[in-house]
Symmetry: C2
Subunit: 580 residues, 2 copies
């Protein structure tokens, strides 16, 4: 018999068999970017262009992350790919609803275009909930016609998370139900991703009847078992990896029903700590077998997204794989993509930075002039007096805020917030659509002095300013306006730390590690101004998220999220001013 | 809270949960043909148009058979649906390669059209191997353009079984490899069904690299475990349900990797014994838990065919379900299709017979005149003498034949087969394409006197005649020609049993049970003429199948199947005739 010509032969490896969930000693042959043979036969049957000595290492499929948002890392797809390839992540399903809120369908299309040549394969989720509510002004929206247009591209994996689960259940005529009916009718095989926090019993079954059959929100045992029993697929992100949940998935026969995902990973954690590899490592440290942890980061996510061409090391699948020197510590030695070495521990791994990857107007998305002190005056056309106002109270450990009622003087038709002990939070519509602005009071675990300004404010990405001193607020805000978007911290009248995000006001084209350092500087500066939160950037950027309880702010005004409506800053007059 | 309006509520049932593989007591609500709720909540929350008292019975998903050929039962899709609905089979994936061999793409399209209104949902496999070899004349073929045309219909589940596995492995340029490359390129998500008997190791991995990733042929433990480890999906038909194979799948964690299928079920077994329900019952009798047996006849087949809308009793899935009065004996009480009762044990269950469901020319497919005695003369333009000839030897228990060399006189340019102790087997091309005919000798466990004639002869469905007496052969053959196709047994100069198959010469529109009785009469008549075989109809109808070893016959001549070529009837001259 003549020898079988292959491109790559890796000998002497322990290969992960996804079907028996066990490692088996043998060799792996690759041809035309696909696995051609896995087994313990005679290696002399093969004529290989390249042979790699496996040296007994573990060979596993490339990791697959099916639920994440690249924008959470504030970098481009190219930088993101660079960041995750060395973490062994070879396929992802990003859902770019932040870019969609800024640019509509074009934001999605340009993220897809920017992913065309990345080493990591990127198949996209179509943002289904842009804007997330009608209570904010965004740069763009995603309508049914946009979904149809995006479906004509070959790069779509799913309809992204359905955020408005309450509307879906209660209002048959809401926009999201129109989208769901259209998608089920027109694309019956399209995966529909869910976001169903705390739903149980009939409500849970109603959202499934509407077509939603996965959930990646925080899981309890009760919620997770109800979801699995109903046929939902569970996507466990790090915050769901509690001891109880992990013990449950380790001890019960539910391996087919869940996978691991990252959802949102901050730039610094992506640069220094890891990505889906970190989740796998953590699962193993929490007592899951490496086989089961790998299965949940390769096989089940691929199957969930109907990616039948990958997720296992078996004949005909795309040859994306990792060589591990230590399976229990999940130490990645080498990463191969379509049979080509793309990362080796110890070799230099430099990012080729490419700027101006996006259309010119993506760098001119902040349609605002510089702010002046007058913009931070809260003008109220009422008589002088003491007024009871709503303040947004920030809490460490959560992105939820609380509402607190505080009494503030109004003098000369100005709300004297600087006399209140609370900071000012203000947002300015920045797409040139209506010039809306809104003001509120802020307290709790946020900064106690200085200012923060950012266009990285979910999901509308209008200019958000938080501060105690007007000069600091102007310094921060005008830096952000001047560089066409970003995140800036100011104190003592000048900028202390800044991260420029010129692409749509939410992404940078700078290299990952440089950006990570700037993110750390931002966090450090915010902590220096008194911010007490495990993740101050996430905390600030969700002050404007009107689907996250309880009191938030958009350009429409203060939002009572649980009531789903705008509420006034001033609740009532409580008395006269006491003259000094 | 207002009550939730549903169409159907079944209370007090033990519902099969496919995700935990266990029965759970509760209720099931159906709305618009889909399951809307499953659980043990308060039934008063529902306002149901119809309520069914479950009385503690077991409720399971409708059975799903993803690999079968309707033509094996010699009835129309309507009759087949009638036959399997009462067996609890609510979705099937038929692959009509017999009709395709007779009529090409039109045969497939008309089978699909004839399935449009059947109670059982039918999603089709596109025949990939028509004709199975170039060594026969058929009425039609399936080419790449036909596949493209069929793919535009919404009713396709897969590319049907790739028969020519040897060519696929050995000849990169064979027709089947062209089809595989085209399908993988143009329809990357289309399921491709396989037929990979006995392949192991590198050959197995090569066929998988070509895109084939299931096998429904007879399984051994070694072959099945190699297939599962390589990522193949196993479809177990009854002949694979040996004690060893069943013990293996019962004891090992491979439930995700196999399902049960029927492949070919003869009319009489379909009428009297059952269908996929029979396989499930047999699996339970062989020691498999009802939960695992049901899983392999509902969940895994649906997933294999990417039918994400069915296969479980869970919210949003099509409400196809069965009520069982005895789960261990798998006794089906009631069958529901899309939430409607379609069968109840004890109620009358009559078939509405509809004839002329197909286009007029489907009833005129036998382009042959009546045969005369001269047609059964084997004319050989050689001198008188004794000649060594190939005889096809039929063996009970198999569709494989053997070749035996026997010495036969030639006198006056006629092969004197009637003096040989062997019967004559002859085939006549019947599509009006070339008038080909071929002759051979037949012996072994076939009939010892009388004659059989049929157009139900795989896969070419030319007229096949086997017999010992010329008058019987003419009686049988001319009955078949006269009724435009069928199966006929003659003895003592007249027809003893006949089944007319006027649709393409391979199907009848008569009711199932009437046809089953005729099939039994055919078998009985053949046994009366000496046929020793557990399934004489299958035995005869595969004499013309040139992919089934070892010596077969087509209109091209005798086929040495292992060599893949036509071989002459007469091997050599061995001597002179001894004058009497």
């Amino acid at each position: 018999m003549s020898s079988y010509e292959v491109d790559l032969l890796i000998t002497n490896v322990k290969v992960f068999n996804s079907y028996y969930k066990q490692f088996r000693h043998g060799m792996v042959a690759v041809k035309n970017g696909q696995f051609a043979y896995i087994g313990d036969g005679d290696s002399h049957r093969f004529s290989a262009a390249v042979t790699v000595q496996g040296e007994g290492r573990h060979l596993i499929p490339g990791l697959i992350d099916i639920h994440l948002h690249i924008e959470s890392s504030m970098v481009t797809p190219a930088t993101f790919s660079h960041g995750i390839i060395r973490r062994g992540v070879t396929t992802i399903v990003p859902e770019p609803h932040e870019m969609a809120n800024v640019f509509g369908i074009e934001g999605v299309q340009e993220m897809m275009a920017a992913s065309q040549n990345t080493v990591c394969d990127m198949f996209y989720g179509i943002p289904s909930s842009v804007p997330a509510t009608p209570l904010e002004t965004t740069g763009g929206s995603i309508e049914i016609a946009d979904i149809d247009e995006l479906m004509t591209s070959g790069n779509i994996a799913c309809l992204g998370e359905i955020m408005n689960y309450v509307d879906v259940i209660r209002d048959p005529d809401c926009k999201t139900n129109h989208i769901l009916r259209h998608v089920k009718e027109s694309y019956p095989h399209l995966v529909i991703e869910g976001h169903t926090p705390k739903l149980l019993d009939l409500d849970l079954h109603r959202i499934m009847l509407a077509g939603v059959d996965s959930d990646h929100t925080h899981q309890s045992i009760e919620g997770m078992t109800a979801r699995i029993a109903a046929g939902m697929f569970i996507e466990l992100q790090e915050k769901s990896m509690t001891p109880e949940v992990m013990e449950y998935v380790i001890r019960h026969d539910v391996a087919e029903h869940f996978c691991f995902v990252t959802d949102d990973v901050m730039t610094d954690r992506l640069a220094w700590e890891g990505h889906l590899d970190h989740i796998v490592r953590k699962a193993i440290h929490m007592g899951m077998s490496p086989e089961d942890a790998i299965y949940a980061a390769t096989f089940t996510p691929a199957r969930r997204m109907k990616m039948t061409d990958r997720g296992t090391v078996s004949p005909g699948k795309v040859a994306d794989f990792l060589l591990l020197s230590d399976v229990n510590e999940f130490v990645i030695d080498e990463v191969y993509k379509k049979g080509h070495l793309v990362y080796r521990e110890g070799d230099s791994y430099l990012q080729t930075v490419e700027d101006k990857q996006f259309p010119a107007h993506f760098y001119r998305s902040v349609q605002l002039c510089s702010l002046t002190a007058e913009d931070l005056d809260v003008h109220v056309p009422i008589q002088d007096g003491l007024y009871r106002c709503r303040a947004m109270i920030v809490k460490d450990g959560s992105t939820f805020t609380e509402e607190r009622l505080v009494d503030i003087p109004v003098r000369n038709q100005r709300l004297c917030w600087q006399e209140s002990g609370y900071g000012l939070i203000a947002t300015f519509e920045r797409y040139g659509k209506n010039g809306n602005r809104a003001y509120g009071l802020i307290g709790g675990d946020t900064i106690q002095r200085g200012a923060i300004a950012t266009t990285y404010s979910h999901d509308n990405h209008n200019l958000l300013v938080v501060g105690h001193q007007v000069d600091d607020m102007l310094a921060a805000a005008n830096h952000v306006v001047g560089v066409q978007g970003g995140f800036c911290v100011a104190g003592d009248g000048s900028v202390q730390a800044a991260l420029d995000l010129p692409v749509g006001g939410i992404l940078t084209e700078a290299p990952l590690e440089e950006t990570a350092v700037q993110v750390e500087q931002l966090v450090s500066a915010m902590r220096g101004l008194g911010y007490k939160h495990y993740n101050p950037i996430m905390s600030v950027s969700t002050h404007s998220l009107p689907v996250s309880p309880a009191l938030k702010i958009t350009d429409h005004g203060l939002i009572d999220v649980n009531a789903g409506k705008v509420v006034p800053l001033i609740v009532e007059r409580v008395g006269d001013l006491v003259s000094v």
